[in-house]
Symmetry: C2
Amino acid sequence: MDLYTYYRSTSSYRVRIALALKGLDVQQLPVNLLQGEQNQPAYRALNPQGRVPTLRSDEGELLIQSPAIIEYLEERYPQPPLLPAEPLARARQRGVAALIGCDIHPLHNVSVLNRLRQLGVDEDGVNAWIGHWIGEGLTAVEALIGDQGFCFGAPGLADVYLLPQLYAARRFTVDLSAFPRILRVERLALEHPAFRQAHPDAQADKPA
Amino acid sequence: MDLYTYYRSTSSYRVRIALALKGLDVQQLPVNLLQGEQNQPAYRALNPQGRVPTLRSDEGELLIQSPAIIEYLEERYPQPPLLPAEPLARARQRGVAALIGCDIHPLHNVSVLNRLRQLGVDEDGVNAWIGHWIGEGLTAVEALIGDQGFCFGAPGLADVYLLPQLYAARRFTVDLSAFPRILRVERLALEHPAFRQAHPDAQADKPA
């Protein structure tokens, strides 16, 4: 498999965690978002949205959108699982993942922040916007996850989404002190080999 | 099962389509978003995010977030399926669903539009914002879906997300004439009993 990725992209980081937890080795093909490589015709031919990540499967098929890619990996390479067996427990993991993937991350994507600036919002307004959505979303996540281990015990889908979200929160200097459960998960992940391997700081395309 | 819903909520509408396609009968419990019922302590106790929909399963468990609820319904009530059997074909359906659920709908949620206004963006700016994200997203959807039938032939997950997105696009008077495949899917759905049953206009909580 090949993964088109960017070291600091939240959704690329999710897919890297899922791959690392499953022990899957893929060729990483960096797409430099700062240089606009995602908008080049060659990349748009792979991904009509011009976003990362894109996964090329072993059969040569192109998959877009991190939620779809991660569910594909879970179905195609089920061990170790990111989701438990029982449907209600799966729904709890997916609920936290969707909350982060739909109600937090899309609102601080770089393209969204740039459009806010185009509408005349100043940097104080942009920072207030970021802080609002991350704070509101993580308050709900804190209420939904468990009291031990990762979000729901063993590393799973919710953690695949949470750690990249926390990396973004720290980049934006959002105060996380009101979220002790979330901070516990972050501490565990910082010492976990798969999460370390997937971290933006460990990527070959991170500038020196 | 009980579904906490609001007739015009995009994500409630998705879940209603999934339930109707599967022929599942649930008790609908309207949450009036205009009157702020989603922020009442009684509802927040069910859904810490204070959003619709929430599904109460037959076992009395509470499920949040439409992507998680729909995957739960697919696992618990597999017939008729919303997803095909083959993992790559499933990823194509989920890719379109995630594109709509992560990169279009979150950006025109009413809470997001209200926050734009609080940051000083005027109504022309709000309308340009809505038109930009819906237009960019549907352009990608148009490139990804097929040439016959619903998005990928039989009604499926991508359609469950697309129809509520088109309802929102029309509310916001977004021009859809550049999207012939999408318009074909819309026409088919307008004549399909499950999509009709789930439509906002057919809901008991729609104001007279």
